[in-house]
């Protein structure tokens, strides 16, 4: 495991909103929204390019008031990297071990909530997200319209429906 890496949190192209006990991040490039729980947010904020993984573990430990292992930090970094929230992608350090197994291992020992990042992609087109309106059958085949009653027919009322 390479714990000498000094990850850097991405700043450009992101809109960050602090909410109670969580941090919301909206990626303007991918239209993805991320919700970081407190643990993940603390680790993300500590990724300043100066702190190594072990130093981040100590920093978070002092803020959270509970034992934080390097595996705990890696669990967050793994998710941050996967969601493009770091300047440079960092490959998973859990060689031969699944994330689920690591969570299980950390979860039993930790008194602090394990770092979790929930993500969701928002449709690019506001029209598609808010309406099944159409002007030709082709426009009903767009992926965002998949929730409409019909994806091939634009009916006489201008709806993607039979």
């Amino acid at each position: 495991m390479n714990n000498t890496q000094r990850p850097i949190a991405r700043k450009s192209g992101l809109v960050v909103q602090e909410v109670p006990d969580e941090v919301l991040v909206y990626d303007l490039e991918s239209n993805k929204a991320h919700c970081l729980n407190q643990s993940a947010a603390m680790i993300w904020r500590s990724c300043d390019g100066n702190n190594s993984v072990s130093e981040i573990a100590k920093l978070v430990e002092s803020q959270a008031g509970g034992k934080v292992t390097e595996d705990f930090v890696w669990l967050a970094i793994d998710q941050l990297s996967e969601n493009n929230l770091l300047e440079k992608q960092i490959s998973s350090s859990f060689e031969g071990t699944s994330r689920r197994e690591v969570i299980k291992k950390i979860g039993i020992a930790s008194v602090i909530a394990i770092p979790v990042i929930a993500s969701l992609v928002a449709p690019q087109s506001a029209l598609a997200a808010a309406s099944c309106s159409c002007n030709n059958p082709g426009s009903c085949g767009n992926v965002p319209n998949a929730g409409c009653p019909n994806t091939t027919n634009c009916n006489g009322a201008g709806l993607c429906a039979p």
Binding site: E22, C35, A122, S131, S133, A157, G158
Partner: protein
């Protein structure tokens, strides 16, 4: 058809801080377009003298009576069915204003008022949003909207009370005023008391999961119309609006029974 070099007539109006120009090759087309615009935006527009606009919609008709719609110089629709053409224009105009509105954040959602608080139901089309709003109104909730929760900078919900657009089994839409359902329409801006993230599933029992503020906002983002145009303001307003709200997610069964259950549930919580 190419973008006509000259439109014979035009008007410019402002709605929710967005300036829109309608231009047409004939006075009749312009009149129809203006009428649809007034309906789409609940007549909340005023004509202005301005060359500086956010959106331009052009209307032209060819010799085969096909009507063309141009948005900012690009063809976005053409149709020989006048009603379908203007229905599409109605949708894209409303979205354009909702996306670029100044000082407001439009969420695609049904909204009712109950005990002085708003119950907001964000959902995509065809998820039973209007059906549920109608049932809530029939059971005494105040009608705010079956389409948009319009949030101001303080996170308060303003009414956008267009007639409820109820679909029959053949997907025909019938506009029904809230009064016909025996309901009253809300007038005042109110804070959000609850957010229901739900969709109809005949086999489901209502066993919701309570979401955190962050999780709730994330679920609301896809329904937030200006999320790409005005992301920072949108997130800030969402945060302000739902910080004290109860956010529930889960499938629901029949709208009638669910409406009674949910109003009774919120009776104690929202006072």
């Amino acid at each position: 058809m190419k973008y006509p070099l000259a439109f014979d007539c035009e008007i410019v109006f402002e709605s929710y801080g967005v300036r829109v120009k309608l231009e047409a090759t004939t006075a009749e087309l312009l009149k129809d377009a203006e009428q649809i615009a007034r309906k789409a935006l609940l007549n909340r527009l005023r004509t202005v003298e301005s060359r500086d606009v956010d959106h331009t919609f052009g209307f032209a008709q060819d010799e085969n009576a096909t009507i063309y719609l141009f948005q900012n110089g690009e063809v976005v629709s053409f149709d020989s069915s006048r009603s379908r053409f203007f229905k599409f224009f109605n949708s894209i105009l409303r979205i354009a204003v909702a996306e670029y509105a100044q000082g407001s954040v439009f969420i695609h959602a049904g909204v009712v008022g109950w005990r002085g608080k708003a119950i907001v139901i964000p959902a995509n089309s065809f998820q039973g949003k209007t059906t549920l709003v109608a049932e809530l109104v029939k059971n005494g909730a105040e009608y705010y909207s079956d389409e948009y929760a319009v949030l101001d900078a303080d996170g308060l919900v303003h009414p956008f009370p267009r007639d409820l657009s109820i679909r029959d089994d053949n997907f025909r839409e019938i506009d029904v005023p809230a009064a016909e359902l025996g309901g009253k329409t809300g007038v005042n801006p109110i804070p959000i008391g609850a957010v229901l993230l739900t969709e109809y599933d005949a086999k489901s029992e209502w066993e919701p999961q309570r979401l955190t503020v962050g999780q709730g906002i994330m679920e609301m983002i896809p329904h937030t119309i200006p999320r790409n145009f005005n992301t920072e303001f949108s997130l800030k307003v969402l945060n302000t609006a739902v910080t004290d709200a109860i956010i529930l997610k889960g499938s629901r069964g029949d709208a009638g029974a669910f409406a009674i259950k949910i109003l009774s549930y919120f009776d104690s919580l929202l006072t």
